[in-house]
Amino acid sequence: MTALRVEDAVMQFGGLRAVDGVSLTVATGERRVLLGPNGAGKSTLFAMIGGQLKPTAGRIALFDTDVTRLSPHGRARAGLARTFQITSLFPTLTVADNIHLAVQAHAPGTLDMLRPAEGRREVMARIATLLADWRLAGTRDSIVGDLSYGEQRKLEIAMALAHRPRLLLLDEPTQGLSAAETENVVALIRDLPRDITVVAIEHDMDVAFGIADRFTILHQGRVLTEGSPDEIRGNAEIQAIYFGEEH
């Protein structure tokens, strides 16, 4: 089974084709990293997969079901979770309340209006587990806006995992993190169970090679090539276009 299939996706903003006919297939359980210089269309492609943007043309399927016309919440219900390039949390709420919102999104009784939200044992247990797994228990009552950037990134991934998604999209998960925090997050991503498929955008080469099974290289809105870590390392064209700028 494929976790994600993108067919000839096009995203046109006025005169700009940010994504210009991208096709992509990710197998269940795979860890795929999208590489490409700024403006290659990576985050736009993520927004199309997540449903935040409606593609100009092309189709998107999750787990062999077409979701091209589905809203973001519909895709979340189909097993998709994502983080954003710019951290997207509830900054005036506590860490525990942020995770609570993530957990109860998929618990039964989201529209329950009369019973207290804290009264549901399975929700509270799941919150406690996530806080412990992601080593956030020490900050559970801190206001999220007061946390360090690294802790906020970690919290965002923890929230994305709250409802046990089958496909996780991570948009630059280690961007802006210190070396120690980066290592920590990479370890947590590596430890994710294999029934979760991960697609990540990552600029840090150590991180990218640390988590990827396969790479897809985007350039100017198109797929330049796809391959295993060894193939990508040895590809001269990629070296010139992408790594050449960095090394």
């Binding site: 979340a76 989201t110 329950d112 929230m159």
Partner: protein, 310 residues
């Protein structure tokens, strides 16, 4: 601790209702009615982050529907209340569909426009609403207990009970999973959508519920005054309700109750000296935004906390 404070406050109010001269007791009843209204407005404004400038439409709908029911159909409070709240919920269900197609300042404008339509209907549909003469002769409601609401102070206790019921229901809604989701939507709708919430549906339900609370306030209002005019559905009432929420503290559970009492008291005091009430309201709004943007309840809480720390 907090529960004791609230209980003591309510007991003091109840005693005050018996002891106060009729004029002041009437002031407190007005405060209680508008407290229910402000609770409703706050569900949308404070908790969901949707500023409506047309909530007098639901208040007016509740008042007219209950009033017409009392005059033409039945004096029973329960039937009148069902008609008033039902009418407001229905109006909210229709208006919500239109208003929630917009956001931000456009939401403000469209709720204002929709509110004006309700006002215009109350004003011009003479045969049913009595036009600008208003709907007169609404009898006191029958609760099924004879003699219960015969004198004015008895109505005070009735209004207090209605306000407590509305407050408890609102507190339960705010604590519920649904109430929490509204706070998330207020803060970051895109994230809520990505987490899997049907954001539109949650907003819509908050809109309709908020209209229902406002309609209930209208019901208690019309039975109290025995009269309702298009003024009850006017922009001034919408703006006052919004200000009650902001002054008391948006997004707090009981701030709007405090705000309602402040605005009602102030309007009665000011009207003894000048006709420039909207000007005073405007100045008050500016003062609150500058000095206590979170509302007076949050301000008082902070002062108390600071004193406790010292």
């Amino acid at each position: 601790m907090r529960k004791i404070h609230i209980a003591a406050g309510l007991a003091a109010l109840a005693v005050a209702g018996w002891l106060l001269p009729p004029y002041y007791a009437g002031l407190v009843v007005d405060g209680l009615i508008f407290a229910i209204f402000a609770l409703g407005v706050n569900l949308l404004l404070g908790h969901t982050g949707l500023p409506s400038l047309g909530h007098a439409a639901y208040f007016g709908m509740g008042a007219y529907a209950a009033g017409l029911t009392a005059i033409h159909v039945s004096q029973s409070f329960w039937i009148g209340a069902a008609a008033g709240i039902g009418g407001a919920l229905l109006l909210g269900a229709v208006y919500g569909l239109l208003a929630l197609r917009t956001a931000g300042v456009y939401f403000l404008m469209i709720t204002l426009a929709l509110g004006q339509i309700a006002w215009a209907v109350a004003f011009s549909w003479r045969r049913v609403t009595g036009g600008d003469d208003g709907l007169r002769g609404v009898p006191r409601p029958d609760l099924g207990i004879p003699g219960l609401l015969d004198d004015r102070n008895a109505y005070f206790l009735f209004a207090l009970a209605c306000c407590i019921a509305a407050g408890l229901l609102m507190a339960a809604i705010i604590r519920s999973p649904f109430g929490r989701s509204l706070r998330g939507i207020h803060e970051n709708p895109q994230r809520m959508e990505a987490l899997g919430y049907r954001v539109w549906l949650h907003k819509y339900l908050a809109f309709v519920l908020s209209a229902g609370f406002s309609g209930f306030a209208g019901v208690v209002f019309v039975y109290y005054k025995g009269f309702v005019s298009p003024e009850a559905a006017s922009i001034v009432i919408s703006a006052e309700a919004m200000l009650m929420v902001i002054v008391g503290g948006a997004a707090t559970t009981f701030g709007p109750v405090v705000g309602a009492f402040i605005i009602i008291t102030l309007s009665h005091v000011v009207s003894g000296y000048t006709d420039r009430w909207p000007l005073i309201l405007g100045l008050l709004y500016i003062a609150v935004v500058l000095l206590a943007p979170q509302g007076v309840v949050a301000l008082a809480r902070r002062h108390l906390l600071r004193r406790a720390v010292r």
